[in-house]
Point group: D2
Amino acid sequence: MVKAAIVGATGIVGQQFIVALKNHPWIGIAALAASERSAGRSYKEAITEASSGALRWFCQEPPIEEVMEMSVQNATELDISAIDLVFSAIESDTAKILEPKFAVDKPVISTASAFRYDDDVPILIPGINSEHAKLLEVQRKSRGWKGFITPIPNCTTIGLAITLKPIYEAFGLNAVIMTSMQAMSGAGRSPGVLGLDILDNVIPFIPGEEEKTQRETQKILGDLEGSSISTARFSVSSTCTRVNVREGHTESVFVSTRKACAVEDVARAMKEYRGSSREAELPSAPKHMILVLDDPFRPQPRLDRDTDDGMATVVGRIRKDTVLENGIKYLLVSHNTKMGAAKGAVLVAELLIRDGYIS
Amino acid sequence: MVKAAIVGATGIVGQQFIVALKNHPWIGIAALAASERSAGRSYKEAITEASSGALRWFCQEPPIEEVMEMSVQNATELDISAIDLVFSAIESDTAKILEPKFAVDKPVISTASAFRYDDDVPILIPGINSEHAKLLEVQRKSRGWKGFITPIPNCTTIGLAITLKPIYEAFGLNAVIMTSMQAMSGAGRSPGVLGLDILDNVIPFIPGEEEKTQRETQKILGDLEGSSISTARFSVSSTCTRVNVREGHTESVFVSTRKACAVEDVARAMKEYRGSSREAELPSAPKHMILVLDDPFRPQPRLDRDTDDGMATVVGRIRKDTVLENGIKYLLVSHNTKMGAAKGAVLVAELLIRDGYIS
Amino acid sequence: MVKAAIVGATGIVGQQFIVALKNHPWIGIAALAASERSAGRSYKEAITEASSGALRWFCQEPPIEEVMEMSVQNATELDISAIDLVFSAIESDTAKILEPKFAVDKPVISTASAFRYDDDVPILIPGINSEHAKLLEVQRKSRGWKGFITPIPNCTTIGLAITLKPIYEAFGLNAVIMTSMQAMSGAGRSPGVLGLDILDNVIPFIPGEEEKTQRETQKILGDLEGSSISTARFSVSSTCTRVNVREGHTESVFVSTRKACAVEDVARAMKEYRGSSREAELPSAPKHMILVLDDPFRPQPRLDRDTDDGMATVVGRIRKDTVLENGIKYLLVSHNTKMGAAKGAVLVAELLIRDGYIS
Amino acid sequence: MVKAAIVGATGIVGQQFIVALKNHPWIGIAALAASERSAGRSYKEAITEASSGALRWFCQEPPIEEVMEMSVQNATELDISAIDLVFSAIESDTAKILEPKFAVDKPVISTASAFRYDDDVPILIPGINSEHAKLLEVQRKSRGWKGFITPIPNCTTIGLAITLKPIYEAFGLNAVIMTSMQAMSGAGRSPGVLGLDILDNVIPFIPGEEEKTQRETQKILGDLEGSSISTARFSVSSTCTRVNVREGHTESVFVSTRKACAVEDVARAMKEYRGSSREAELPSAPKHMILVLDDPFRPQPRLDRDTDDGMATVVGRIRKDTVLENGIKYLLVSHNTKMGAAKGAVLVAELLIRDGYIS
């Protein structure tokens, strides 16, 4: 068993890691770390609100009994000598400082954006760009680390990149235009989205989000050439909004392909897409990398986000677009706190374990 | 005073006509018509649910006392000899049959889509394409009618066409890509959108809506050449979705302009747009045809839909788009049941009264 | 295996029966019946919307493949000679006519209210008043039927009656005052609750609901004396409202007990309540008849409705009430379309199979 | 004109004071105070988010231009020598310290609960217990102040106390049982209610709220006897919950009256209730202290909260209750951030100005 530490264990993403690792066949939770305030307390104490006795556990799945009794350590003083792998669920500012300290010795898989845009850092989606993992060796060498840092993509990027991949492979891509309708859970809880603000409303701006989706998509679908990634040569433009949905990002996508293609061709390419190698056999891999639905009223976030335990990207309404050259348009739903966060990071860990990057 | 009949008076759009005509300086309600079931009853009786005594009045504004006492007539037998103008708030199927009967003698302004795509029928937005009103004379002649039929645009088209107009005039347009997040009121009440279906959800399909926005936008911004409208030569592609919002459609728009233009130029063109003539002085005209907000978190449907009593189109987040040629992107909010329905139709009536088409 | 027919199979409650019977160890679906419109079509065809191809399947759980291929029969002409049990998921008006026709020969378990208040008809909740099943023999005799009709309680009554039972047994009851905050699914889909009406709102009236909760609670907790039920001698007064929740009724309950009791006593009585006999072993029985939570912010419908697959009643905030004699107050959450509808009816079937009423 | 200072001016309640005083005939805004962070900046700067330029203005009504240019002072150093009246919109902890400092010299009207339960402090609702204002003279004397502190009730208490008053006067009261379904705005914005937590949900606990409603109702309806208030001799028990509503608290009320009374008697007593003196003529007074609706589906928070600009309490569904002695039950809607907060405090100021307590 690979012994994992979860850093940022008391936050919502940390809790999702605990759920994603429940009964995991390859990975066990060996340490929990959080801020100084939680250090020295049992996990249960650390997530119990002192004033009311309320449990600050935010996942739909119940907490795991054994984890509740584990002691929480101070993240800045965490001893990782007996640890094989660090899952980092902390904010980007702290990640900038803490993750390199861990990476000197051990692999770090992160949900933070801090290192996503560094040249020697891949943004992995198993089955989409698994071969980018080789960049981790470049990173190890260039930074003189025994470990490495590998972040997962932004939760809005991931469904977009996954659905673009088979199109890109089969027909090439000129351009991508995307409008997102994102779930509230993507904003976390501090401060998160107030009910007062989102009720009967749409919030048309999510700071930093559009830049992330544009930049990361090009990097994920780029080619690893020697010691760096040559970003994919299609442009991406997005408008990101927040809607009154709890989980599951919906995206309205318009693409221009290089080669002309019929709607059925695109649907078939998505349906038949199986990933770059044998990733479908990884323990957390979805049964369908992409599930294409024929019902014109799908995908819907509430109905489709949980497909394959939130690991599938669900697509519908593939149609001709009449504006772009070889235009195709479709909608997708992707679970932002499953495939788009902790469980997606666990899937990356599984890939790296299988391929010998983590042991 | 122009004497107006409201046909479809008991439905939600009919009720909005009653509100829009309250204290109107030029137009008085002279007759109310609905289905046979309501005929012969007072308006109040007609909208009272027999089983519970509940009043089926759906506007936020209170009902008008005098109207409550008016008698409702059977729409198929309505005598319009003493009427100057018919506002039609009926479904498209019925409109196909009833509206031409009224138009033989009298002007009909309609919220239904039945005749929007006929060659001799303009889709008027005062201040945007007021000059298309001349087509009504062509219609009169070709059909041998004393009256005419003039429908308003689909509620999703109207904000789009309004905001495109100043861009089109100043810089030309190659292409428009739009994703809408539409309010529930657009679906009406029979059956409307169930709370069960929209809670924690987005519905990615509104049958017929995308075709309407694409076709109508090109017609509205087209040129009246002789006896027909030459549709505008830019392409439109849209994806229309429903979100958990009561009133106010939000649209994410990407445009490609003919001439290069800076973000500030587009903002200025929108801010300075005053309409094609003196429409700003019409009684129901908005103070701002287009209101451009600088706050990056605007427009929001709940905060901005009621600007100028729901008659303004509110725009924000005007930015460069990096995908389209001379790309610009922005968001807009437009009130689908004010400017986009009854009150928008009243504004058309005002234009046609002022310009002598109705008297 | 007991061979069951589902009458009203295409509606939302009928669909929930299909889900509740998936992989059932004792009961198999042998026939599906609905209105004439669906007769002769496969179940899949019957629930597919012709115009759009959309599947009108409303459960979160996916539909069952074998059932999709079954043929739907006309309910009024259904041949039940090879059937052991009829589950009725039809409206009360139709139930009044159809259910007695089936009951001449076969047992009928119904979610409709049509016969709930007849003297020879029990309203069964397994584990709460299982012994009322004996009334079915009285019914058979008095009506000359081979079968019988046994309805389940109203979905708002069921959680109330379950939580009152251990209090009633241990301390007696004088009076019960209840305010409900009910989920939208309780109103069904035709017409159901419009999103327009419930957004940012509470609807303070549900026709007929208060009378049902008052009358049924007294009958369920009454004593079977000879050939009739002597209703429980405590009064019930309720106010029933609708809130913007999809599933799970919340109820705020105030009770006056006969004997004085401490908060801990009530909590213990609820926690230790195990039902009137061995019902906990029935296949669909919840692990906890009543789950009492200590967290003061619970129960919440979204977090607690699915406890034990929606079959548990979840209670919290048990406190002293200072107004009523021996006053106690608490809140409960109960899943209105699981325990409160089809799966609750399946639990009744299991009780009646075990005890030999159905074979 | 009375010169008022608003302390806590940048928060949501402070903003509501600004709106409530717009064009006020008797009271002008002479000073704005907030925390040190805002001190020295214009009001507009103080409520503008530096990072994004977004305006943190939370009222539906637009901000007032002149106020935007006023300078904000540090509340702890505010010079009130030229001020006639302080409106306090600060949290209870800070109110405990700051309000007595202001009250040494000047009248303080507060929305905080800090002093509500002191013996020499009235909780005023103009028209309900205006005569309690005399207690302010006792307070001045006992504390040696030139000014005084007078808090308004908790936002959940106010509608309850208002509707109980005519019943209490006409029939007497034994007991009151209330379940509230409260709006999110009552929780403010720091941290407020997260959209994630309230979507598809009810939160069954609001810390401290039930105690406030119970205690304050008895004090408000008590009798001023000499130098103290003798609390009303009926008991109150409540359960307070939060629902997914933006503004407007809904309350389900059950009362036991001393004298038997018919439903019509209660309705009439409420309808005819005009307040204890001439308060209906105060500038902010509602047209209807209590508006009783006959439609059984009313009151609804979204439809009724804005009655008389949020100053009326709207009642419906008055019925017999069969559990309590002389039982009556009804529902009410009260606007928690208009009558229940700043505008309610302005109404108190008007009463005290008219009666000479403030000049």
